[in-house]
Symmetry: C2
Subunit: 311 residues, 2 copies
């Protein structure tokens, strides 16, 4: 938990501690939970995608940008094992954009909205008067899916550290066309007692460090167990790609070993579940290689603010 | 209802008609309402503010930008006579921004959050890798305030057309430091039976045209009754300023004459309520001048997309 974004987020959180009765889950998790009384609550997330940072229009179509902007927020809903409910989308348009471009973007938004039954319920369209690239913001609501939302806080010593799917190499194309693990997350949470969960958006090394920081535990990863994607296998350093690439949008979760066994016995989905390590005493993430040598693993995933002087 | 933004918004709405049982209020109003069952619902709005379009950093401090971004969404909550609940804020940072600038922005966000009891519950911080100005998106949740949310749809022939406060001239400074009419809107809705309501964000001529379009009625404004702000009075054309300037963030609402009388008799707030016209048969907005002459009033408020080829 050393990224510049994490540090400024923590600083924000302590400026105004939120009432846990109103906000059972607040700043610092994938979504905030807002209590509405009478046993009802909603969760909300917001994500801004910027041209040149999150997508490059020389390699991505506007339809893909629309899909990705929704899918990233759907992945936040999955990260907490919650059910997506509705999205509202704001678009900041560069000069020269007209209805044609807006309709292409809208088509991708609808593709994700239809597939995950998360309708587009409203939005805002505005234009840069000065130079600016395309900015797309998705705010999304979800509701608990029959169980308490899973957070980054509950990892316990002895838990298996698990992931869905293989990791790494998303820049080869998957980052534009991934499948948010919404149904998988709900299936995991309803099949076994998981202690913590998040989605891997910035890279395993950085995101696991967040679970450790917030759960006040350490993690030991087993290098040989980490599932490496075909795209990552084609890179110069497949392991580094799987650890640090970011935008995997797979689930990262922890649960006791017996719960993991129960989960596996009930699992009939095509997406693989892999135990890649254990939650241990201490802090930070360590990696055990094939020879049994253990070394410290620095968070080397994507840091949105790393080039800036933050705090 | 002729703006480019309105036309593309209507086009979006018809692509995927929303289930009114799930979304009692959807695309085309100030907020969307999401039904949660058990008599509970939430409303959501999203607004993106762009540097150079909505604020100019040569005249506005970052603290003011933070306040304005929250206040614009709080005004949406007011527009429907609902109670703000929580906000999430996404920020797209230009190159060269560091924690100092983020903290200034955050200070303004907190000023509005504290004043209107609408906590900042989460957010997203990201940076332009290519050229781009500051982009701030606020998504906000609200809940009904003991009555049904008011929409743009319910205006009835014979209704008084009313506004809070004086109009026009917001560019002289008010647009950076206005007071969203949250308590006033709830007081109006709980004191009398209003038929429609919205906030004036793009200018009276454009926003009243939206109520007419969505309610399938016409409007007749009485020129002499329109309350003109001191800032508008100092412009070359005070009436045009009051009709078209935009960013007034005052309430525009309609209600039967006897309800307006009841409302006035119960009104003890410092903000003025003024009847400025009547809802009439037909469509579109007309203006009656001092001599009794009636002319058609074109929507000439701010159109976010007017320079573009839209539909």
């Amino acid at each position: 938990m050393n990224s510049a974004e994490d540090r400024i987020t923590e600083w924000f959180a302590v400026q105004r501690p939120l009432d846990p009765a109103r906000f059972p889950i607040a700043i610092g998790d994938d979504m905030a939970q807002v209590n509405l009384g009478a046993g009802k609550s909603v969760l909300i997330t917001t994500d801004m995608l910027l041209e040149g940072t999150h997508f490059d229009l020389s390699e991505a179509s506007l339809e893909q940008v629309g899909y990705k902007s929704m899918a990233a927020s759907l992945s936040d809903c999955a990260a907490m094992a919650t059910r997506p409910l509705a999205a509202v989308v704001s678009v900041g348009l560069p000069a020269g954009y007209a209805s044609k471009q807006l309709k292409q973007l809208h088509k991708g938004i609808l593709r994700a909205a239809d597939k995950y039954d998360c309708p587009l319920a409203g939005g805002d369209i505005t234009s840069w008067q000065k130079n600016g690239g395309l900015a797309v913001n998705v705010a999304m609501l979800s509701v608990p899916a029959g169980c308490e939302p899973l957070t980054r806080k509950g990892a316990k010593v002895g838990d298996c550290i698990c992931v869905t799917g293989p990791l790494g190499g998303s820049r080869a194309g998957k980052h534009l066309d991934f499948e948010p693990r919404v149904e998988e997350a709900i299936a995991i949470a309803s099949s076994a007692k998981a202690n913590s969960m998040m989605d891997i958006s910035d890279g395993l090394s950085s995101d696991l460090a967040r679970i450790c920081h917030q759960s006040k535990v350490g993690a030991l990863l087993f290098q040989d167990a980490i599932p490496i994607s075909e795209a990552a296998a084609r890179t110069a350093d497949p392991l580094a790609s799987a650890l640090n690439d970011g935008e995997d949008y797979e689930l990262l979760f922890t649960l006791p070993e017996n719960e993991f066994k129960k989960l596996l016995s009930r699992w009939h989905r095509p997406v693989a579940l892999t135990c890649i390590g254990s939650i241990v005493e201490g802090r930070g993430v360590k990696l055990r290689d094939s020879s049994g040598h253990i070394s410290s693993l620095k968070p080397a995933g994507y840091d949105h603010l790393s080039k800036k002087e933050i705090l």
